[in-house]
Amino acid sequence: MSVFLSFTVLGIVSGAVYGILATGLVVTYNTTGVFNFAQGAVGAVAAFSYWQLWQDWHWPFLLAIVVVVFIEAPLLAVLVEFVLFRRIHGASVERSLMVSLGLLVILLGLTTIFWGNPDIVRSVPSYFTQADGNVLSVRLFGANGVTLQYQQILIVIVAAIVSVGLGVFLRRMRLGVAMRAVVDDPDLVAMSGAKPYRMSQAGWAVGFMLAALAGVLLAPIVGQTGLTADQLTLLALNGFAAAVVGRLRNVPMTFVGALILGLVTQYAVGYLPTHLGPSLAGLTSVLTEVVPVVFLFVVLLIIPAARLAPAGRLALRPVPKVVTARQSVAGAILLIALFAVLAAMVGDTALATLSQGLAFGIVGLSLVLLVGYAGQVSLCQLTFMGIGAYTMGKTLGGDSWWGLILAVVVSGAVGAVIALPTLRLRGLYLALATFAFGEVMYEAFFNNSTVIPDGTSINVGRVPLPFIHVVGDRAMLVEVAVAAALCALVVGVVRRSSFGRRLVAMSDSPAAYATVGLSSVRTKVIVFSLSAAMAGLGGVFYAGQQGGIGANDVQFIGSLTLLLFVAIWGIRTLTGALLGGLTAAALPVLQTHLPTSLADITGLAAGIGIILLARSPDGILGIQWLTSRIHLPFGDEAAQPRELVLDHEVARAA
């Protein structure tokens, strides 16, 4: 009984914190139309700032809380709104998602820069700690009962106040009602005299303040042994699941979702391991990570599709030209020639980096198909890459053509299987589902020591070439270049085919797509599968280059940065995919040559890139000034001038 009670208390308390976090997400989404993937990262920044002010600079602890929640968070929100989100109001789901994911990378980069030094332990004491170190608590239900810490009670009270207060604010108060109206029709709100961007600012500010509040409340719970950014941003995940339960609209349901999630997670931690035996010592930490993603995945699948809030709106869209067959063949030859020359010239590090970059480029091309053309955002592309690499490694000694073929087939099949249950989801929800899938695969497969022993990798060999006994690093680079060129040709062929027209048509208008008699279900399964297969092929070369594949190669953050860099260069272009891959591979290498003060060059570059992406939808290669002056390998993909296009979903047609 007392075990049950104490896990119930833990579940309610963590649920309350997730609830506060998720409510912030809901408020921002409803005011701005942007799903803030960085919500957890904002909480992390707040928790670290709180530690900084209180523990490191010895400010009074109440002052620290007030400064973090009521000054730092809203200021950060206003800055973020101005720099990143003001220009993309009403943009397509993919694009606003991309910018919000970019914000996540930026904030993670900031925490690494400011609080990344692993030698400092950033521990945060509990609230209501007495001078002698005792944490104040009350005992309920006698000896067989449960101990409630004062801070746990505080958290639940704060959550209740937030829940009720926000409900009143959004329904009764003028600013709140206007905030809800602005996302539905910013122009109408503008006509009624309110400034839409003021409402957006307010939406971001409230969202960030709630994230900060959650971060500050959570800091003493997770931070007794020291705060880490990973552990804090992980919380965002719990927030996502809760927000989806509330259908991104309903504040009370969001709290209900958060409480259920908190309880389920804690009961899983409390009861599962004893049944599974003591050998799984690390299970607790795995469960706290897996349960929320499984929960998120299940919730996404069972919440009725029709009731998901429609998210599309009026959008500015430039129309990219289609690369012709001649141009893509010329581009492919140029690419192979360029890298053959480089292979002969550069040193070992550069060889490895370029090979990896091109392998990432192949994964990038798979994103062009899926995200660039079909408008379906995947946050688990490195998972498919890992599946391909693993299959290659496990087939016939890991260095055969059969392995390559099987890798492509298996990752393609997994892609199709994943696509099936997620088909009726679109935009944001599909992105969340791929995120959940990637996380589950990471925790249950790649990071599972029975599949890949801890800290090691599965050996993967190189695809053999005729006339060459051993494929060395130089031959490898040429091999990858040929593969990347062929993949680029394939993507070009697909785009020019009737299937390619269908992909972009489905992305442009799902409603019109259905009314000409086309089933987006079939199209999505095919494109998902094709894209996963290509990512798996990329994995064969990625792992072949470095000799194996491990859990570290397939993390969410990797999928995310690759996606962002491809988007920053131009996700509807072949050149952008390859440059994005090369960038993702090159920056970590560059990092080792830089002073330690520049702790996170990848985050920094992504940050600058995302600010640019907020202004140029087709990324760097979409900037006309640039593309009219430079001739790209794959020719003519520069965007044409912007035109106003209606890009809304029919669900709003009422």
């Binding site: 009737s498 000409v516 089933s519 044409q640």
Partner: protein
Amino acid sequence: MPPETGTPAALEVDGVSVRFGGVAALTEVSLRAEAGTVTGLIGPNGAGKTTLFNVITGLQRPDRGSVSMDGKDVTRKRTYRRARLGLARTFQRLELFSTLNAADNVRVGLEACGRASSSEAVGLLDRVGIAEEASAAVSSLPTGSARLVELARALSTDPKVLLLDEPCSGLDERESEALGGLLTSLAAEGRAVVLVEHDTDLVLQVCDRVHVLDFGQVIASGTPDEIRRDTAVQEAYLGHSAGADAAAGGPSGDA
């Protein structure tokens, strides 16, 4: 042309109701569209015309009522299935494939039903009168032409039932007249054409039957002549004492 009870109509809507929260968008709406005729649907903004189209095409699920085509109940069929049964539409708020040029917009529809020649796409654009825009980016077209691209795309599936949501907005008088002629000839090919339009002159001129929606309810149905004389319609839509003016091109109702 009075509805012949007994023989199934190309399109039949029966007792459809839709509520959005507390708002009744459609209440017990019934109408028939016969093959070979043009059926008009008029009513003030917010009367529920587009919602009705969404229900017919399956983009909006009705709370009550049914939709059938040629006597076959399609209420529970998905949008693309209905399209394959011969239902096509255009949209009031444009739903073009904005990444594709005009001809490719039509081509996607042609390819969807197994026809693939790009010359056929240009042929359809020619039929609606914008063949010269075939290779134009649809995002660069004026609204009127963009609507015609939607019409050509809707025709690409060779539909039996064609729903047109304000095809004339953005067209000048001469173009509207040409479109009216086109609609008559489309009906003459045996299609059932349903026309939502604010240009009441055009509706009363080309339609065989007209239904008037107001606040989600059908307040009148009949031939154009009957509609002109209907007092309820005059009050709700055409404006008081506008019965005679309507035919003479008085109020356009485009508010």
